[in-house]
């Protein structure tokens, strides 16, 4: 659990909240790797974004897949979450140059993503499991390496290395038909990594992976991010995603609803006050004192010695709470935020979907 008595993120100062006309979309407090340069930012220039989507829209006939999406990603891991049909896969396909935007531009290391040269910088692991089932894992990855433009010898070497990296060396000779879901995921990640791309876009990479495999994948993704790669990972496994990164982009109805760390996004959800469970030996007195605080919008007394506080502006609330507890000498035995998880935030952002 994050330490709620500390500011959520010291980097979040001087960041702005943007809302669309309908008031639903929340522009994130921008993290350094996902940020447009503000006029007042310090002189240190940010590095060129590895992936840039600039006001991108994409229609499928009359249906809009992605609507005015702007996203800048630099080295690090970003989670992409949202309900089915939110436009995540479309966004990923735009980012990998499989789709051409109807409006806006998508750039990979400054190159138009539609350009074949740009695709050298991106690796994509789709959520589909559609392989050439008669091929072995080794043959499949080697074929994909050849498509990247490697010579035969280099393709073979890269295949060996990448299969070792994803832990598939021993099973590489088996046909894909006989692979489990987890093995298929590993092979998909291997083919995405085979050409050492700067940007790695992974659609549901943790789906079907056993717990040990998940830990290994999480470690791998962390290591790749540390090497300066940009990872955009779509997942419905929010708990796993939380372990992987704090930084998420939330999509709904083709739009980016919010981008930033979970804490930053949560902080901006003013119309959904944070719920905090407090256990104390004087719950009624504490409730009265809390109600006097300007950020508290409600207090529910629970069973036994607990109460649930609903407060806006969590950072200020926790600072005031700390002062109150120290001044009035309340004993607080337990303190827990109830709706700061990715699940809760997603639920608020998506309107209870």
């Amino acid at each position: 659990m994050p330490d709620l008595l500390e500011p959520a993120d010291s980097r979040s100062r001087n960041r702005t909240l943007e809302q669309t006309a309908n008031g639903q979309a929340v522009r994130a407090p921008q993290a350094p790797r996902v940020q447009r340069e503000a006029p007042s930012t310090p002189a240190t220039p940010l590095p060129e974004p590895l992936l840039l989507l600039d006001h991108v829209s994409k229609w499928y006939g009359p249906v809009i897949g992605v609507n005015q999406v702007t996203l800048e990603l630099r080295a690090g891991i970003t989670g992409l979450v949202g309900p089915n049909g939110a436009g995540k896969t479309t966004l990923m396909r735009l980012a990998t140059g499989q789709l051409r935007p109807d409006i806006g531009t998508v750039r990979l290391r400054g190159l138009d993503s539609w350009d074949a040269r740009a695709k050298c910088h991106v690796g994509y692991s789709p959520d589909l499991d559609s392989f050439y089932e008669e091929m072995s894992g080794w043959q499949f990855v080697e074929s994909m390496a050849r498509l990247c433009g490697y010579s035969r010898r280099e393709a073979q070497d890269r295949t060996e290395e990448t299969l070792r990296l994803v832990g598939m060396t021993e099973q590489a000779g088996r046909r894909l038909r006989g692979y489990s879901k987890g093995m298929r995921q590993r092979i998909k990640v291997a083919q995405a990594l085979v050409h050492d791309p700067d940007v790695l876009i992974l659609d549901e990479p943790l789906s079907g992976i056993d717990p040990i495999g998940r830990q290994e994948f999480l470690a791998l993704f962390h290591n790749l991010a540390e090497r300066g790669k940009c990872l955009l990972i779509s997942s419905h496994e929010l708990e796993e995603l939380e372990k992987l990164t704090e930084h998420v982009a939330v999509m709904t109805q083709g739009r980016i609803a919010a981008v930033g760390t979970l804490a930053q996004i949560r902080e901006l959800l003013d119309h959904h006050p944070l719920s905090i469970l407090i256990a104390s030996d004087q719950p009624r007195n504490l409730a009265g004192a809390l109600l006097a605080m300007e950020d508290v919008v409600g207090v529910d007394l629970g069973t036994r010695d607990t109460l649930v506080v609903r407060a806006r502006n969590p950072r200020r609330f926790f600072q005031n709470l700390a002062g109150l507890v120290l001044e009035e000498n309340y004993e607080v035995r337990h303190l827990e935020t109830l709706d700061e998880s990715a699940h809760a935030i997603l639920g608020y952002l998506l309107g209870g979907r």
């Binding site: 396909r93 140059g97 499989q98 050439y132 498509l147 290395e161 070792r164 050409h195």
Partner: protein, 308 residues
């Protein structure tokens, strides 16, 4: 799994250009076909036709060296050398002329059609049917490279069954006849290559277009059968049976390639049948059909993004 990146080298080299990906795409497609026994069975049948021509030419050369004999034995058959020579030269046209190669292409057509009908869904259809395209399209290549790769795979098939054996027959006849044959019949070699090119372009475009449209094997076979067998029967019935205008024969696509091929081999259409449409019309039909396929593929690859 080794989460450490110790053995995962950063790549600092240069990749080949996107055009280099065409062959790897074709190579994967060919691998998918070559590992199927049914393909080798059909290819063996196609080779039987080739061997009939190959050993026929050899038999002809041998019979011509036996003209002083009263009779020769071929297995259990006893025949006069002159009759055997007449049979091989005039009936089977195994005389190293344009007729030989034209007939070879015609007979091979049956096997080519069957193989392509079966191969279409494996070569192309499965990518669309099962959604394997993202693997291709996320790599450093364009949509046209993908299509070119698939067309190249079809071209390899077509030429393995037609042009390449025809060239072998040409070389064999040159060795059996005389070295001057290679010089005197260079036009024939160009005709063989031209005929092969016509087949390659038309059939690869048609196969890739129909496979992206139909995707599955059974509809592919039905459509291919309709195009190349039913339409042939229909054309025959209309022109030869009901005495319709010979241009109705243009619906027989294989016959159109045959007419164009005959022209390229230096053969007149008067040597085929009494009622044939002009060669230019056959060429126009093939050109129009190829253009339609190209336009369809162009539209298709723009929409490929929403195909799963």
């Amino acid at each position: 799994m080794g989460a450490s990146l110790l053995h995962y080298r950063p790549w600092r080299g240069q990749f080949h250009r996107a055009a280099w990906t065409v062959w790897p795409i074709a190579r994967v497609s060919l691998w998918m076909i070559f590992r199927r026994k049914i393909f080798w069975g059909l290819y063996a049948l196609a080779l039987l036709i080739f061997f009939m021509f190959f050993f026929g030419q050899y038999l002809l050369a041998w019979a011509e060296s036996q003209t002083t004999e009263q009779s020769v034995n071929i297995g259990l058959v006893h025949t006069e050398p002159t009759r055997l020579i007449q049979l091989l030269r005039e009936v089977m046209r195994l005389n190293g002329s344009g007729y030989t190669y034209r007939n070879f292409f015609w007979y091979q057509g049956y096997m080519v059609m069957i193989v392509l009908a079966l191969a279409g869904s494996i070569l192309v259809g499965n990518d669309f049917q099962f959604g394997s395209l993202p693997f291709y399209l996320s790599k450093p290549l364009g949509r046209w490279h993908y299509l070119l790769g698939k067309c190249l795979a079809v071209a390899v098939f077509v030429n393995l069954m037609t042009t390449l054996p025809a060239i072998v027959l040409f070389v064999q006849y040159g060795f059996l006849d005389s070295w001057t044959y290679f010089v005197d019949s260079s036009r024939l070699l160009a005709g063989i290559l031209g005929y092969g090119l016509v087949l390659t372009v038309c059939l690869s475009l048609m196969l890739v277009a129909t496979a992206t449209w139909l995707r599955r094997t059974v509809p592919m076979i039905m459509t291919w059968t309709t195009l190349f067998f039913f339409f042939r029967l229909l054309a025959h019935a209309l022109v030869d049976g009901f005495r319709y205008d010979p241009r109705w024969r243009l619906i027989d696509l294989w016959n159109n390639t045959y007419l164009v091929g005959s022209y390229l081999l230096g053969m007149g259409i008067d040597t085929i049948r009494l009622a044939e449409p002009p060669v230019y019309q056959a060429a126009l039909v093939l050109g129009a059909l190829s253009s339609i396929c190209l336009i369809y593929l162009s539209l298709r690859i723009r929409a490929v993004e929403i195909v799963r």
